[in-house]
């Protein structure tokens, strides 16, 4: 819950205009099932002769209006998994398996016009670095109207009007004037808002935000997260937030997936995962970051070692070399995701609450 502190007159900021759905988009059917159903998604990259298995068979769902966080460090595969959804992988990457169902359509099989309709239409993406994601030689207005015109049959004037409206919605003051400016004339936070404006221009059902605030200062980050939360509520979008910051996840997500070495190792309602982490990696992460809500002198317990080589596939659990709870079974078999609570699953052979192997039926509570 955030409370906006009013700034003095003459400074930036305005209350967002009332949001209304895009002028003549197709009527979207109300979905009972999940908005996004990812099944067994795998992504590979070729680096010279080596194959990097960035994503190794992950599955998850996103319900309408839900916010899901995907958390991981570099090499975990979190970004690759998102780029794969819109088929935006770089030239040396490819989806090596799995499905991503949006309603009944498998996103991974789309090509040509349906794919272009999808991108920016029902699914939109916001990237980490607004400076490189925006075209430096086109005005901001042009970039937004391009998106609108691409997906809606409207006149140019109508698209411009919509662009002004969007800039307003994302909190950029003097929107009409700024339509004619170029990305480099905006600050980092403002550029990110522009990118968000482009992304929501056609009222997507699902918005994917890939580390949307990593490149921003913390006070600007607060602004952007606040904005995303508000937009999500008013547009009823589902949101996937990819980040390495568990604090961000705590604030904005309903559910969270923790990724390590290309796999999901823990997932569940955010509250449960953060309060009661069951996978040693999650536990390790939470114990190793300094936290403002714990006494200052609380010891940090770093996770020893380094993340594994993504070109190597081992038989056992990839977290093994760094795990304080390991048992023999971890070396031989890679654990599958299993329930430990309502909606809360982990991929681990050990029960970290007692430091012993988990019982046969998997449920330890």
């Amino acid at each position: 819950m955030t409370q906006r502190v009013d700034a003095p007159e003459g400074t930036a900021g305005s209350t967002p205009a009332t949001v209304r759905p895009a002028p003549d988009g197709p009527v979207r059917p109300v979905l009972d099932g999940p908005v996004l159903d990812v099944r067994n998604l795998s992504v590979e990259f070729t680096a010279g002769k080596a194959t990097v298995r960035a994503v190794r068979g992950i599955s998850y769902t996103v319900a309408a209006g839900e916010t899901v966080g995907i958390v991981g460090e570099s090499g975990s595969g979190k970004s690759a998994s998102a780029l794969a959804l819109l088929q935006l992988l770089p030239a040396n990457g490819r989806v090596s398996g799995g499905h991503a169902l949006l309603g009944t359509t498998d996103l991974l099989t789309l090509a040509g016009k349906p794919l272009n309709d999808l991108r920016g239409g029902s699914v939109a993406m916001v990237y980490q670095d607004p400076l490189s994601a925006l075209n430096p030689v086109l005005t901001v207005g042009r970039q937004i109207t391009e998106v609108v015109e691409r997906h809606r049959r409207v006149s140019h004037r109508e698209a411009e009007r919509r662009a002004v409206e969007l800039l307003d919605i994302v909190g950029i003051p003097g929107a009409k004037r700024r339509l004619g400016e170029y990305p480099h004339q905006f600050s980092g936070g403002m550029r990110q808002r522009v990118m968000i404006a482009m992304a929501i221009s056609c009222a997507p059902t699902l918005l994917i935000a890939d580390e949307p605030t990593t490149a921003l200062d913390v006070t600007v980050q607060a602004q952007i997260l606040d904005l995303l939360g508000e937009l999500k509520r008013e547009l009823g979008m589902a949101l996937i937030v990819i980040t390495h910051d568990l604090g961000i996840v705590a604030g904005i997500t309903d559910r969270v997936l923790i990724m390590y070495a290309g796999r999901i190792v823990e997932e569940g309602p955010t509250e449960d995962v953060l309060d009661d982490p069951r996978m040693p990696y999650t536990l390790g992460l939470l114990r190793s970051v300094p936290r403002l809500d714990l006494p200052r002198q609380s010891a940090l317990t770093p996770i020893p070692g380094t993340p594994p080589d993504p070109t190597v596939v081992t038989a056992g659990c990839p977290f093994l070399p760094r795990c304080p709870f390991r048992i023999d079974r971890c070396r031989a078999e890679n654990p599958a995701l299993d329930n430990v609570g309502p909606g809360h699953r982990i991929a681990c052979w050990v029960d970290v609450t007692v430091g012993a192997p988990r019982s046969a039926d998997g449920v330890t509570r």
Binding site: M1, Q3, V5, A222, D245, G284, L286, L292, R296
Partner: protein, 354 residues
């Protein structure tokens, strides 16, 4: 509109403990559009053996300050004194000799090591520069340093491109320690590292500080890390220090509106707190350092700004022992703050069971 006055250094600790003294320091850059006042007349002192943090967002001048302290940046005005000696007026050989006593750890592990040298050679370089020891003793020392930073002798022959970010950073720290400095300036030493590695380096720095009795200036933007590592903290905004305080005082009783906004914006991995806390959302962006706002530089984003803030530059004034703030109205605001925002939630509210 009054010109900024070079105010007196506000004493925040007993004089005999003082190890580093920065006085009226200014650093300026000539840009295409004008002069950038990256650091504008700041002053602070650091006690012997203390961990002092400089915190702020991008463009606040903290990195420039760090470089100015270790004499790697030209000082436009002011002085830096270490252990009684004015190092900012030294040049040539006297300066190079003095450098043995203060060292810097750099932010980017990928550019701070010479790519053509192996780790051992990088660590031995300072010893060679100052002609310390002979080949055997230098090798012994570099092996010892490798162990000190948590690596082992086998890393001696490895080149930076074969090392991970965390390992490179350790090598950088080993290099900085080779000459047994008294003062270590760490410029965002963990920002470029993965989360799970950051804790390793932070813990290493803490251990080293305790073991070697180092005085540390820690430059960072991550408040949680700063709180964990430091004894005292100075918050910077657009080239000026807005608040300095012992760490518990800063986080328990932040007086400057900017400090409050910073703390309020820091994410905490605790859902209950995150969902309940009332964040201070600042409006707008950081103004240009070429043309900073008149008077108090923070006034364009400050929720409490008034006319006086535009007319007069606020001086750093003492709020309590060791706690200074540069705000005209901090006394009045303190009462208001308690009622409007729980800036930092008390640790007692359902801590994570981790």
């Amino acid at each position: 509109m009054t010109a900024p006055a070079a105010g007196p250094v506000v004493e925040t600790q007993p004089a005999d403990q003082e190890f580093l003294r920065v006085e009226n320091l200014s650093v300026r850059y000539e840009g295409r559009a004008g002069v950038v006042r990256a650091v504008d007349d700041i002053s602070f002192t650091v006690a012997r053996g203390e961990a002092f943090a400089l915190v702020g967002e991008s463009g606040c001048g903290k990195s420039s300050t760090g470089r100015a302290i270790v004499q790697l940046e030209r000082i436009a005005a002011g002085s830096v004194a270490m252990d009684g000696t004015r190092i900012s007026t030294l040049h040539g050989k006297p300066l190079r000799d003095m450098r043995r006593r203060f060292q810097m750890v750099f932010q980017d592990p990928y550019t701070s090591l010479d790519p053509r040298l192996a780790a051992g050679a990088i660590i031995r370089e300072p010893l060679e520069i100052h002609g310390i020891g002979d080949r055997t003793s230098r090798r012994r020392r570099s092996d010892e340093l490798l162990r000190t930073v948590g690596l082992d002798e086998t890393f001696d022959q490895r080149y930076p491109r074969q090392l991970s970010g965390g390992q490179r950073q350790r090598v950088g720290i080993a290099r900085a320690l080779a000459l047994q400095p008294d003062l270590l300036v760490c410029d965002e030493p963990i920002s470029a590292l993965d989360v799970s590695i950051q804790a390793q380096i932070v813990t290493l720095l803490e251990e080293l500080q305790a073991q070697l009795g180092l005085t540390i200036v820690f430059i960072a933007h991550d408040l949680a890390v700063v709180r964990h590592v430091s004894d005292r903290v100075a918050v910077m905004y657009l080239g000026k220090i807005v608040e300095t305080a012992p760490v518990d005082a800063l986080f328990g009783r932040p007086l400057h509106p900017y400090t409050q906004a910073l703390i309020s914006a820091a994410p905490i991995p605790n859902t209950r707190i995150e969902r309940r806390r009332k964040r201070i959302i600042l409006k707008g962006d950081v103004p240009s350092p070429i043309n900073p706002p008149s008077g108090c530089r923070f006034r364009t984003r400050c929720p409490f700004a008034q006319q006086r803030c535009a007319d007069e530059v606020p001086e750093l004034r003492t709020a309590s022992s060791g706690h200074v703030v540069a705000c005209h109205f901090f006394e009045e605001l303190e009462g208001r703050q308690a009622e409007s925002h729980a800036v930092l939630p008390a640790a007692a509210t359902s801590p994570a069971r981790a």
